[in-house]
Symmetry: D3
Subunit: 168 residues, 6 copies
Amino acid sequence: MTQENFSAANLTHLDRQGQAQMVDVSAKQPTVREAIASGRVRMQADTLAAIQAGNAPKGDVLGTARLAGIMAAKQTSNLIPLCHPLPLQKVEVQITPDPELPGYQITATVRTKAETGVEMEALTAVSVAALTLYDMAKALEKSMQIEAIHLVSKTGGKSGDYAVIGNG
Amino acid sequence: MTQENFSAANLTHLDRQGQAQMVDVSAKQPTVREAIASGRVRMQADTLAAIQAGNAPKGDVLGTARLAGIMAAKQTSNLIPLCHPLPLQKVEVQITPDPELPGYQITATVRTKAETGVEMEALTAVSVAALTLYDMAKALEKSMQIEAIHLVSKTGGKSGDYAVIGNG
Amino acid sequence: MTQENFSAANLTHLDRQGQAQMVDVSAKQPTVREAIASGRVRMQADTLAAIQAGNAPKGDVLGTARLAGIMAAKQTSNLIPLCHPLPLQKVEVQITPDPELPGYQITATVRTKAETGVEMEALTAVSVAALTLYDMAKALEKSMQIEAIHLVSKTGGKSGDYAVIGNG
Amino acid sequence: MTQENFSAANLTHLDRQGQAQMVDVSAKQPTVREAIASGRVRMQADTLAAIQAGNAPKGDVLGTARLAGIMAAKQTSNLIPLCHPLPLQKVEVQITPDPELPGYQITATVRTKAETGVEMEALTAVSVAALTLYDMAKALEKSMQIEAIHLVSKTGGKSGDYAVIGNG
Amino acid sequence: MTQENFSAANLTHLDRQGQAQMVDVSAKQPTVREAIASGRVRMQADTLAAIQAGNAPKGDVLGTARLAGIMAAKQTSNLIPLCHPLPLQKVEVQITPDPELPGYQITATVRTKAETGVEMEALTAVSVAALTLYDMAKALEKSMQIEAIHLVSKTGGKSGDYAVIGNG
Amino acid sequence: MTQENFSAANLTHLDRQGQAQMVDVSAKQPTVREAIASGRVRMQADTLAAIQAGNAPKGDVLGTARLAGIMAAKQTSNLIPLCHPLPLQKVEVQITPDPELPGYQITATVRTKAETGVEMEALTAVSVAALTLYDMAKALEKSMQIEAIHLVSKTGGKSGDYAVIGNG
């Protein structure tokens, strides 16, 4: 895990005057970088059961959410103002039912060969997959919650690798 | 709070064959509809302090996140596959520091005059504001978590109003 | 079927100087309008069999194409330079295997309440669903063809209804 | 022409569970890749004559369709869910009248230096140019058909070159 | 011409805390509203002559700039953070050579039936048409200037009509 | 300063038939390229004073315009029809009050490592920042003008560096 340094000087999207800017990465080398993010959608057990039942024949609830997450990863630099536009070389979204929650666990893995990392792309994929799951099931239950969206790990790049300690 | 009915038949984005479709709302009346959603970004106390310090002169961390949320509300129907494209008549995003969390509380209010509601627009605004806050501060702390994104209330439309019981 | 009038004066997207413009529809009344378009993707029988087999457990080939068509309908006014941006109130895409072709038949139905019709939205949904089907199966066969994309019918609006004579 | 292998295992956008994913191309080398696609818009001879006449002074019908095709090539990864976002280094669209058809022949050539090919970009350019031609002339004739959209050739990349046998 | 009131309280996109928000227009009536904006691109006489010469056979320099302006009007609410997304019912861009300048005069007219006006859509259309003209001719001359982009007139809506005094 | 050559043959976005195309840059080498553009928004002294006053607590007027410019740079290839889509490695927008004007000076700096330059990205960032400033203050004064948008300098690439002579 990288050492954190809690200084406002590390708000790297702000210039010396405190103004938001897209920082210069042109001196960095393009290397293969990967980020994994995850999150979950918590719902009532009955809602989970209905989605699982409704999903059986065609898979369209989870399939739609997964595709929405993949497509959103490609929109990251249009959504997050200071993100660099990057080519993406892999985007994978997994959505698995978790009866203990109850609800769904969502994980996204994104890979690029670029001068900067893809944490935001992975987090965006998880967020939009979760929003789409909410949209698909909101006629059943409006009280679903999107929870625990966080970075699981990050590799590649000179700032060092990062991984959540524990079960991610 | 509306009565929930946990039947797969209520997965209203699926047709009778279980296929995802954008449902027909042309028989519904355009009325003023509002949705409020909220969520939070949890971080270490030092990270919150650094953002608050860095934010003082120019407000660009929170201002950037707020704008990103507003602009994302306008992209909702491009991000969520089965959402109807709607004119929006108000989008407001509030981000307030919460030292108890520690972190930030985010609330979005969206209003339209249309045949269908704007829950997804409000939830999307909160999600993208939270992602942007993460992006702005990730050089300080990668372990921030986006939490508790949920619908607070919804008014207008024939399906009845909805409000979270408790403090939302 | 409407009477056709083959005069260059009917190239309604051109002004008197022959310049492309987005024509004024502000004097027209918003009414419910629907358009249905269809097309097909022709492939080898073995390709069709492989997709049908691969599609069995999860439906992701056809489900992905269907969603891509629905989402593309919402992008029509960004893709077709002189199309008016419209709210859409229904988008439905059906993809059915046709062993005689062999390949897939694709049909899109789009509905709006607006001052102008949604023919282009329906045609765009069919085209992008077909392109996505090609993309999903191109590792199997590069010689697939997208064929017979046409308007099946159009209702609503003062220019009169339109329907293909025969089986559409 | 590459050897086709008709196994569902070759539906390369599906993972082992049959779920749609954007596949990993990070191990592939960026090389110059080109794809050429073509298609046509068939119409009545009178429609073709009117477009040619209307087009004479300013070229806006065909010019608009050509530009729409070029711009659509740049939107391919936003339209086709599992396409990788790529830099494009050349997009060219040609539209030529064909009195025998009668109608127009459309050809698009796209070039990149990337880890994966640009077939979908070329096919998308042809499709959107054809849709735009339809849009520009639909006040003259609604029965126009978009036909024979297919890949003409593809070069670069390790999977080998591909070319339609015959006249493409 | 409307009376100007130079108070910071009239920065209507800021709420009482000075935070940027998309203001609520849901209490306003949808009426037909039109805005006209103009601007110009100044260049050397030789550059103007070359564009006019190169433009003769096909019109693609000015035609491309005109289309880019029309399409950009439709992107206004995605570009200008606090603009409301609106249906547009007419967009017209005129580009005329001005040997006195020397260069081109650009005028855009936009019409909607909505709760708020389309000044920004007209100004955006002019700006992007001008940028595209620059792009098309920058190999000839890099010192071209985009000048005098301003609102010419605005009608409809309760805030009163507006028109530049003089020749606009 | 590069030598200008005023021949229609230098309208490099037109092919030999005068048709607009996105030219082939695949034979060019990717190098670090930078472009700086500037422009200004002229307004009445009272308007400037009101913005400066309203801006004091939170910075949202200028901050919003700056972010809009940064985000627009990333949309350049979607707005300008023949621009190549490029990765961007730095985008910086500065907006400074100029009491002499009176109004604001806007400067954008964009950097890439690519086969072609980023002049259009820098000019687009300036234009959209200026449009956003107009939008934020138009309730105060509709007669503001956007002026003198031009390229200040360009470095990198084989066509040679470029710089405005004088004060830029």
